[in-house]
Symmetry: C2
Subunit: 150 residues, 2 copies
């Protein structure tokens, strides 16, 4: 038997433990890369994000804690925002959900929620809004009527 | 406002609920595909699987229930089985772990365990052992010393 050498694999990551170390909402932290193409990231979120789409990737969500994650999602690829038709999907702790490539969406929560995301490497969380004033900040905005700015 | 139409997205899948419907160990069930390249699958497992490798894909594991998932994994790409150097990684419920492409590995558990796997579409769970007598059966084998055949 040869002497075992350290492998190139990475130790397991406990998603709840890793999430508990995050100090800023809506700042995804990279956990691992699969096949050099897909990134697994965790984040904690609160309140609401901006409407955006990812023109080059599906975005798979898994809810780790808190929840539910509410996902406003356009009813078809041509809908740009809530005035053009959308529905709201409820994603509970332990649920897996895919936002298909190109669909505009807006995640929001009523309590702090931990999420895992799987998407193509290099994806920016603000998607096609990266260059917009809202997207540039990559920060939390509140939904209409919330009455406070996060 | 246009009338909302059904979207092409799939309803969320609760991993524990989906897992509870599985009746056969080591038979992965496809849940969703991301970007036409990556498949999310769930399975329930018991006892031990065979040594195998996936020459074309990383294989990401997440433990849904039961656990721990124990992963014997070769210490380098040239190790073919336990006589050539391996280590055992303990993967608890809520942990995420990647078996890198090409590394021979053998998952085993001491109690029934539910797992999520993310890997390239078309991956066979027996990997490079698909054509072997053990791999063809794609069934459970017990570890040396277990004293019974599953």
């Amino acid at each position: 038997m040869t002497t075992p050498k350290p492998t190139t694999h990475q130790a397991p990551t406990n998603l709840r433990d890793a999430q508990s170390l995050l100090t800023t909402h809506w700042r995804p932290q990279h956990i691992l890369t699969a096949n050099n193409t897909h990134s697994f990231k965790i984040a904690t979120i609160s309140n609401s994000f901006i409407w955006h789409a990812h023109p080059n990737t599906d975005e798979v969500f898994y809810v780790i804690s808190g929840g539910p994650l509410m996902m406003d999602i356009a009813t078809d690829l041509t809908s740009k925002h809530e005035d053009q038709g959308f529905e709201t999907v409820r994603i509970n702790v332990g649920d897996l959900f895919n936002v298909p490539l190109g669909y505009r969406h807006r995640p929001w929560v009523e309590q702090e929620t931990g999420i895992l995301m799987v998407e193509k490497v290099g994806t920016v969380n603000t998607g096609d809004e990266e260059g917009s004033p809202e997207g540039k900040e990559r920060t939390v905005i509140v939904r209409k009527g919330d009455g406070e700015v996060a």
